[in-house]
């Protein structure tokens, strides 16, 4: 397990690098958080300067960085200018909401993609192939933003789905069944949109790697021993095809926080995306760095997870140890 330690160290260095560079980048972008106040007729320029110096914005970059690093060590991850609170607590709630959405959607997408891709790869029927190719092409071609907008339009036109929010106001007063119904109702639209956005890429990959495995001789051999088709597909072919899919899975874990930005914004999901965008525009620097680091952590975790899974799934790697 020295290997894990090495990977973690690696990740730590990456985080450090990302934080340094992010700091440098924020410096490049014009303006700072308190600039907005300059347009407020009630606030004098002196007050703005006072605030800036209070938050250390008048200090040189490296000093600000070290201060920030100190607050990371205290577990606060810096201070949000806009929200007057520590970034850690601010981000956590949104990150949870985003993870709920993307986690559900990614899970769902994988659940659909694996059997669908496998089935399409195994099918010899022309129309299945045509339908599959056409369908994934179409989904792949619809930009996320358009997809989200279409769903919004659907919700508005039909009134079947609530727009925005994760639960009704009366949620706490519902009984268990009512709660479930309410959640499903609220999650339906964003989760579907998100699922549809991630699905085609996954299906394509599953299809590609399954097609490759299906051509391999050991399947012919297994077929020669009378293993029935479904078992052949899922018990024999899938674990072998899993290898590239696991890397993909690692990648989709890595992008759990960032993949849903547009959908969150359009469908008003209280996730990290809108906050990040707002913070970038408002130059709420620590929030941005916090969010970036959070997704970097996820990136690292995703890669690590992929390797662990690969280890678990592929005896060729596992057994050698």
């Amino acid at each position: 397990m020295r290997w894990i330690a090495r990977r973690l160290l690696h990740g730590l260095l990456l985080l450090l690098g990302v934080s340094v560079l992010t700091f440098a980048f924020t410096e490049i972008a014009p303006g700072d958080y308190f600039d907005e106040m300059r347009l407020d007729p009630r606030i004098s320029a002196e007050t703005v300067e006072a605030l800036r110096s209070r938050y250390g914005l008048d200090r040189p970059l490296h000093e600000r960085y070290l201060r920030w690093l100190g607050s990371v060590l205290r577990g606060e991850f810096g201070h949000s200018f806009a929200y007057h609170t520590s970034v850690g607590s601010l981000l956590w709630v949104r990150a949870r909401n985003t993870l709920l959405l993307t986690g559900l959607a990614t899970g769902l997408a994988w659940l659909i993609a694996v059997p669908l891709g496998a089935w399409a790869a195994a099918s010899k029927r022309r129309w299945v192939r045509a339908l599959f190719g056409g369908g994934t092409s179409l989904l792949l071609a619809i930009p996320d933003i358009l997809l989200a907008l279409l769903f919004l339009l659907l919700a508005v036109r039909t009134g079947w789905f609530p727009v925005g929010g994760m639960a009704s106001l009366d949620y706490p007063s519902f009984d268990a069944w009512g709660k479930v119904k309410d959640l499903v109702h609220h999650f339906a639209l964003p989760v579907t949109a998100m699922t549809l956005a991630t699905l085609p890429v996954l299906v394509r990959h599953v299809h590609a790697s399954m097609s490759e495995v299906l051509r391999s001789p050991f399947l012919l051999s297994a077929r020669g021993f009378g293993i029935p088709p479904r078992r052949l597909l899922f018990r024999y072919a899938l674990p072998v095809a899993a290898n590239p899919l696991i890397s993909l899975f690692g990648h989709s874990v890595g992008s759990l926080l960032s993949a849903s930005l547009l959908i969150e914004v359009v469908l008003s999901w209280p996730g990290i995306g809108p906050l990040l965008l707002e913070s970038i525009l408002a130059r709420d620097v620590h929030v941005v760095i916090g969010a970036v680091l959070m997704s970097t952590v996820l990136l690292i975790v995703g890669n690590l997870l992929a390797d662990v899974l690969l280890y678990a799934a592929d005896p060729r790697i596992r057994v050698e140890s």
Binding site: S216, F218, S221, G224, F225, G226, I227, A313, P315
Partner: protein
């Protein structure tokens, strides 16, 4: 054409285990054109008998083996013929019914043991799985059965092998696991397509010895494909020789190897480097070869397919298609030389 002229079909014997009649296979190439890679293949295989298939590379040996168990690749198609096994026509069975036959009553093993095993399953599980699928025994029983089979194919340490993944096994061991897989349900027929071609000499010898032994013990009938004449001669009861998609000769092993009738068989046997021709230094005698190359499956010549390369060809060979006819004791040959 007629089934009476079937190569190797011996009259008057008890009902054969496997009866192949006039089997023909076409492959659709990438460009869309069809190639008839197997034609009019007919032979019988009795219970417990071993039949060797010898022939030119590309002659259709593998195709024949695959077609019998319905394992042709997607672009291959049986266009004619009948494969009756235990009295059932395998070509007319549904995929479901065929799956019940395969692995249970008849099994197939391939050339490359390295790629015939699922890299992500334990060897023992792969053997047990075949039993599970066909016998629907409880898992424990399947495992026991698999373990017993592994012992039978010569693993002393069957527990160790049971839990091993294919990449932890040597080529010979892998091939033995495949054989165990093939035999775990005690089939009556084993089709082996060059099962030892990619193994080194020692391993090859082990596997052949094993097959010989199992044949005895399980009363197994075998269809054994190879281009190693020496190997076939030492293993099989009868042989068929294939050239350019046709069975050109069949007969008992000694008859085919020692007294070949068909010119192709004769030429082929001449190519085998034997101890006799050895020599040292640059003055070494040259090996005999067959001139020219086999015809293109998409454009067979109208007459005898070996005619362009045949040392003994007659004038009529280029135009007339030879039909199989009896030769030797219970053999056949497809050559106009023997036409009368």
């Amino acid at each position: 054409m007629s089934s009476h002229a079937a190569c190797g079909a011996r009259e008057g014997e008890p009902e054969a285990l496997l009866q192949v009649r006039d089997l023909a296979v076409h492959y659709v190439g990438a460009g869309g054109e069809e190639a008839a890679v197997l034609e009019e293949a007919s032979f019988d295989l009795a219970v417990g008998e071993t039949l060797g298939v010898l022939g030119e590379s590309g002659g259709g040996k593998s195709t024949l083996a695959l077609a019998v168990l319905g394992l042709l690749p997607p672009n291959g198609r049986v266009t004619a013929g009948r494969v009756s096994f235990h009295g059932r026509d395998l070509l007319r069975l549904s995929r479901r019914d065929l799956d019940q036959v395969r692995g249970d009553e008849a099994s197939m093993i391939f050339q490359e043991p390295g790629v015939s095993l699922n890299p992500c399953m334990r060897a023992g599980d792969q053997v047990a799985d075949v039993a599970r699928v066909h016998r629907r025994w409880p898992a424990k029983r399947c495992r026991e059965e698999a373990r017993a089979m592994l012992e039978l194919v010569g693993f002393d340490d069957s527990d160790g092998v049971f839990g091993a993944y294919p990449h932890q096994l040597s080529g010979g061991q892998k091939q033995r696991v495949v054989i165990a897989q093939a035999l775990v349900c005690r089939p009556a027929l084993l089709i082996a397509d060059e099962p030892t071609a990619s193994l080194d000499a020692t391993t090859q010898a082990e596997i052949v010895a094993l097959l010989r032994d199992l044949r005895q013990r399980l009363g197994l009938a075998m269809l054994f494909v190879s281009h190693d004449v020496a190997l076939l001669h030492s293993l099989v009861d009868r042989m068929i020789v294939m050239y350019a998609g046709q069975i050109v000769e069949s007969g008992s092993r000694d008859q085919v190897v020692l007294k070949p009738s068909h010119p192709y068989t004769r030429e082929l046997l001449r190519c085998v480097p034997g101890g006799a021709e050895k020599g040292v230094g640059p003055g070494r005698p040259r090996l005999p070869t067959i001139l020219g190359s086999p015809p293109d499956p998409a454009r067979w010549p109208p007459g005898c397919r070996f005619e362009p390369r045949c040392p003994d060809r007659l004038e009529s060979c280029g135009a007339r298609r030879p039909e199989p006819r009896p030769a030797g004791d219970a053999g056949t040959v497809r050559c106009l030389l023997y036409d009368d």
